[in-house]
């Protein structure tokens, strides 16, 4: 990648002012186009920053709208930006190409073109995203890179005997949680490989099957068994939202079968639209297994193959566990989480929309409370005290608000009876 000469907004304004006396008419026209583009750029980013989403920047990010600079060649519609790199003395340089205005922008970094993965629903978008989305991506990367300057590998994170003993003595265990969008997987093997990578040190052997024969699945599972499905209901009908993950009799969820839903129920009290199972491993063996809405595998084995699914469903199972969970191959986010060095494993699937709401709230919370969450940062007693006060106040306010709502609901229902 060739790096072109760049000029900051301020430099350029000054430069423009100097030549504005009419000495370089060619430059004037050239500059006007640049100014217009710059205006547009700043406007788009400001919109996004200020009114658009009203969202805080990622904690510790130093990226600002002003750091985006135009390339020297106005025709190229290339925007340069420098963010902090993995080490303090090597910043990372990115070029954004405005292919179709601010809506279709591609990004090239030190390692070539960057593939955009939506940070909340984990969907791989390919190489084009909107300018605000790249701004946010760069802001997050800037913060992450800077974090790695101060957060060096902790002394307990190695696998030598001494460190292992240190961990055992202090009951330090590893845990992690990784999410992906099922639309990103083409074959059962791809999905299986991701699951086992996400399971880290765990001895669990998760396996993905591709649904190739919906009839065989229905026949094997029969109407009495339930599985999870994405609702195609119109809003309001039976309380479901379109695209919501629901549980229903198997025969209506599969392939070409389009009978009317019956007996739709939610996934369990207080759980929401969510499906999953958990494992407790003892060495290589499964010690405990818990899963709802799963189908005995032996009854539906012939319905599955190993390549690409012929119906938009994956079957998730664990070696040695004769149960399979159907997971939609579209519009679903799956999460693999482990704890206790992989002895506990949870697999879950959620509809993309539901996941997005939660992930959004979580991300905004992490940005607002980033300072308190940053373990590399010492806080003074006064700072901690202020955080405690703020958190308690928020909780109390929410409590009062909920009480008020409840009171109003009660009054409304008593009023209705009169």
């Amino acid at each position: 990648m060739t790096v072109k000469e760049t000029m900051s907004i301020e430099d350029e304004l000054e430069h423009h002012g100097r030549v504005a006396g009419g000495v370089h008419p060619g430059y004037k026209a050239h500059s006007r186009a640049r100014m217009k583009l710059r205006e547009q750029l700043r406007h788009t980013l400001r919109m996004y920053r200020a009114e658009g989403w009203e969202m805080p920047l990622p904690y510790n990010s130093e990226l600002t709208v002003e750091k985006f600079v135009l390339g020297a060649d106005a025709e190229a519609e290339a925007v340069f930006v420098e963010i902090r790199g993995k080490s303090e003395d090597s910043p990372e340089r990115y070029v954004l190409y405005l292919e179709e205005g601010m809506e279709k922008v591609s990004c090239e970094g030190p390692e070539g073109p960057v593939e955009f993965v939506h940070p909340l629903n984990m969907k791989v978008w390919g190489y084009a995203a909107t300018l605000p989305l790249w701004f946010d991506w760069l802001a997050r990367r800037d913060a992450q890179n800077a974090h790695s300057w101060v957060c060096t590998e902790e002394h307990w994170e190695s696998e030598d005997i001494e460190t292992q003993l240190y961990r055992v003595e202090r009951a330090i265990v590893s845990f992690d949680s990784t999410s992906n969008n099922t639309a990103n997987f083409r074959t059962a093997q791809e999905f299986t490989d991701w699951l086992n990578e996400a399971a880290g040190p765990s001895t669990a052997q998760l396996k993905v099957l591709a649904l190739t024969d919906a009839q065989a699945f229905s026949a094997g599972a029969e109407g009495s068994l339930y599985c999870t499905g994405l609702s195609h209901q119109a809003p309001g009908a039976s309380g479901e939202l379109p695209g919501e993950l629901v549980v229903r009799p198997l025969e209506i969820t599969l392939g070409d079968l389009t009978q009317k839903p019956r007996g739709v129920r939610s996934l369990g009290e207080g759980v929401g639209d969510w499906a999953g199972f958990s494992l407790v491993m003892d060495g290589a063996a499964v010690e405990q297994f818990h899963g709802d809405d799963m189908v005995p595998l032996y009854r539906v084995q012939e319905a599955f193959g190993t390549g690409e699914p012929r119906h938009p469903w994956w079957g998730i199972t664990e070696e040695g566990v004769d149960s399979v969970l159907l997971v939609p191959a579209r519009k679903a986010v799956v999460t693999l989480r482990y704890d206790r060095d992989g002895a506990d494993v949870w697999f879950s699937a959620q509809s993309e929309d539901k996941h997005l709401n939660k992930a959004w709230a979580e991300e905004m919370w992490a940005r607002r409370w980033g300072r308190e969450l940053d373990h590399t940062r010492q806080l003074s007693q006064q700072e901690v005290q202020a955080s405690v006060q703020k958190a308690e106040q928020q909780l109390i306010e929410l409590h009062h608000q909920q009480q008020e709502e409840r009171k109003n609901d009660d009054e409304a229902s008593t009023g209705g009876q009169q």
Binding site: E154, W156, E157, R167, R170, A171, I172, V173, S174, F175, D176, G200, P201, G270, V271, G272, W274, G276, F277, S278, V280, Q288, H290, G291, D292, R337, D339, R340, D344, W346, S348, K354, N357, K358, A361, E362, M364, W365, R368, W369, E372, L373, H375, L379, V384, Q385, S387, V388, K390, A391, E392, Q394, L395, L398, H399, Q402, Q403, R406
Partner: protein, 98 residues
């Protein structure tokens, strides 16, 4: 990328995420160390959040250092109700100094 924790409290994770239960875990009162589990915190707990269990015998006191207490409370307020029909009162019995 993995993270490390001390004595993870599993029933908490279940409450927050709806993950199916993994039995016989959880530490509770009497633990000398802050129960924050995202990263290692060696601070002594000074604050508590008493979570309501399904029955009174399942009520559970989460003991935390002041900083992680603030973080934990704020996460509950700002994130939990996105997909929970319950209320503050249906989840928390008591909070504040230990």
């Amino acid at each position: 990328m993995s993270t490390l924790t001390v004595n993870p409290v599993k029933d908490r994770a279940e409450r927050d995420t709806g993950f199916p239960p993994v039995p016989e875990l959880g530490e509770g009162e009497g633990n000398p160390r802050c129960l924050w589990y995202w990263d290692v915190c060696t601070d002594t707990p000074t604050k508590k959040i008493v979570w309501r269990g399904k029955s009174s015998s399942e009520n559970y006191a989460e003991t935390l250092c002041a900083r992680h207490y603030a973080v934990e409370l704020s996460r509950f307020t700002e994130v939990h109700f996105v997909d929970c029909e319950g209320t503050v009162a249906s989840h928390i019995l008591d909070f504040g100094d230990m």
